[in-house]
Structure formats: structure tokens, C-alpha cells
Symmetry: C2
């Protein structure tokens, strides 16, 4: 006799369905690296450019970024989100006390901010940052890295909760697959005919709205 | 002339590589629902059973869970993680002030806790919970739901950072794919020959270590 299962419903009439998370506009993160160095000498790098996003937080003042001629100080009560493919300089006139995350944003559709975004560190983020710096100070072991991963992910979600990205329009699933392909391989040559094929569309229909070049 | 790109390295010698996140044991979450009801009448449900995990936090005391004859009070300074396929009762002798998340844990390999896990709400989590309850109180709109998603995800990552799961052994990628299949469809009948095929292994080699029944 088959067992009767109760309460199999993933959503209820009393909550807010977050199932669209697997869709466009509800960013998820693939974190490549979490780093903290309390005293980096000569933190001067010109023309930094990367296919991934960066989260920067310097617990001590003194260093700054330079972006399109503008100086962006790295202050202890702020953090900076730098979208992928943003070209900037790291300027360290003093020793840098620097925390960073390198990450790829997946499922991101719609408008991406242009240039670094500076946001204030509120009390929750301050505690989260303290936790992640404490974890960095521990001797490396598997549990430490696992905690580092979760603390970094919590930090990024908290940061993005404060980033008011304009809501995106509904996008058909097959186009999301294409978007996903492009996001995963931004430096690969993906032809329009290849992408149109993945979207299940003719090249003629694909090109007007979605062509990559 | 091809543009020379600088700093393409996803990881550096100065940080901690978190690239294994896409591998087993580094749980990620698919959140189905976030719910808050400050006054639920008759919160009494016997034999609750679900293929997804639950995060429970009651900001006011008075209700409890019953699991294998044991009473687990839902206290304002604690939260409870309930793994998938745990059968329990919700007991509401008083009106329930109840916050919940329904979610699926992906990439989870190795030991899963048996039964509900009760953990203390520390200061960071307390602030995170306050934020998510505030967001629930807002009128529904796209930005609210987007923030709710990120705040819920931050909450889960913070909760799992405190859940010291034993480190898992390295698992070959092709077996991860199989694990992924099983996790995504726990109630589907997946035959060993189908799974062995997905793992690129013979049935004879697959069965001793990985057979599902």
C-alpha cells in the first residue's frame, strides 16, 4: 500500500512563494574566493578588470579605488560591490587592511549597475563582517572553510538585499537558458545561430531582440 | 588586436578558494516559501512530513513540536532546522507567532542530521530575523519579494554556518550528478540501471557503493 504523505505542498496560502528564485532577476552566487589580509603592502594595481564581481570592505581607512577618474575611498563603515567587467585601479598609499570576495552572479537579468556601488555597513552587516574575519583568522580546516563559505554567502545575500535592482520583466525559460550560457562563458565566442538554436528560435526571430552583437 | 585582460584569476594566492562550493557538501538552497504569521489559530498538525527542509522560528513562546514522543519548545531565542522527510507534529496550545522557510538543500552529501536541530539565535541572527519580519510586514511588490528572497537566503546561510556538518569525502563529479538527480526527485522511482548509466558506470560497479535500494 502506498504511504499517504501529508503536507507535501512546497508553498502554502499563508506564505510568500519564493519559487521564482530559480528564474531571472533573483541573483544567486557562485563564490570563487574569500580573502582577508590585515596588512597588504603596496596595494596598487592599475586597470584591474575581471569577468567576475567583487565585494570589497576595508576595516581600516586609507586606501581607495579609482574609477573613471573618480576616487572612491574604502571606508570601514561602507562596502563596495564591483560588477564584472568594471575597469578600476586599486590605490594603496598606506598598508591595506582588505577583505574581498570574488563571485559570479547567476540568474541576473536586466539592469546591472555601471561602476562600483558603495553602500553603508549597517549593524547586521557589521556583525556578519566581524564573523567572517574571525573565521579567516582560524587555522584552515574543512569545517572552517565550510563556515567561511556560508558566512560569505550570507554576507553577499545581505548586501544584495540592500541593492535595489529594478524588477525585471518575465523572460521565457528558453531565453534564460541562453542568458545562463552567456553568463557562464562571457569570454567565449557564442554565435547568434548557436544561441538562437539553444533558445529554440529561428535566427530571424532571435536577432532583433536578443542578438549578442 | 585582442584586448589584453588583466587580473582574470578567479582565485589568488592570498585568499581562500571557495570554488568547491559547486561540489558536494557545500550546501546551497532553493527556497520555496518564506512565511510569517503573527497569530495563527489552532496551529495543530499531526504527522507533518515533507520532501523539503524547514526553518522554524517563533518570536513568541507557547508552541512546540513533537518528534518521536519528545517535546521541542519553539522559543524566541532559538531556531529549529528540520531536515526533509522528518515526521513531526506541530502543537499550538496557544496562538502561534510563527516564521518559517521551506527550502530544498542542494549539493548536500554525507551525513544529514536525524530529526529537528535546535540552535540558539545569536545577535546576528536576531537582527536578520528582525529584518525579514519587517520585510514581511511591507505591502507586496517586486522589490519587497526580491529583498525577502535575499534576506531569507542570508538567514539560511547564517544558520548553516552554525550547523557543523562533518566534512564529506571528495566525490567524483559523475556521482554528484546522480546525487543531484536523487535530491531533485526524491519521490520519483529512479532505477539503479538508470542512475548507473548517468554515472557512466556499469551496473555491477555502481551497485555495491551507490545503489539506492
Amino acid at each position: 500500500m502506498a504511504t499517504k504523505r501529508k503536507y507535501l505542498n512546497y508553498t502554502t496560502p499563508w506564505g510568500v512563494s519564493l519559487s521564482p528564485v530559480a528564474r531571472a532577476g533573483w541573483s544567486a552566487f557562485l563564490i570563487h574566493e574569500s580573502g582577508f589580509q590585515p596588512a597588504l603592502e603596496n596595494w596598487n594595481h592599475e586597470g584591474v578588470d575581471s569577468p567576475f564581481w567583487r565585494f570589497y570592505h576595508n576595516p581600516k581607512a586609507g586606501c581607495h579605488l579609482r574609477y573613471q577618474g573618480r576616487e572612491i575611498p574604502l571606508l570601514p563603515d561602507e562596502y563596495v560591490l564591483i560588477p564584472a567587467n568594471t575597469i578600476f585601479d586599486c590605490c594603496g598609499p598606506v598598508t591595506a587592511c582588505h577583505y574581498w570576495l570574488h563571485f559570479t552572479v547567476t540568474r541576473l537579468a536586466g539592469t546591472v549597475p555601471v561602476g562600483p556601488v558603495v553602500l553603508p555597513v549597517d549593524e547586521t552587516l557589521r556583525l556578519q563582517l566581524q564573523a567572517v574575519l574571525r573565521t579567516h583568522a582560524e587555522a584552515p580546516h574543512a569545517l572552517r572553510d565550510h563556515r567561511l563559505y556560508h558566512e560569505s554567502a550570507a554576507l553577499l545575500h545581505s548586501a544584495f538585499a540592500r541593492l535595489e535592482l529594478p524588477p525585471t520583466q518575465d523572460i521565457p525559460d528558453r531565453l534564460l537558458d541562453v542568458l545562463d550560457l552567456i553568463q557562464k562563458a562571457p569570454h567565449t565566442h557564442l554565435s547568434n545561430s548557436f544561441l538562437a538554436d539553444r533558445a529554440g528560435m529561428s535566427l530571424e526571430r532571435f536577432i532583433p531582440d536578443y542578438a549578442v552583437e
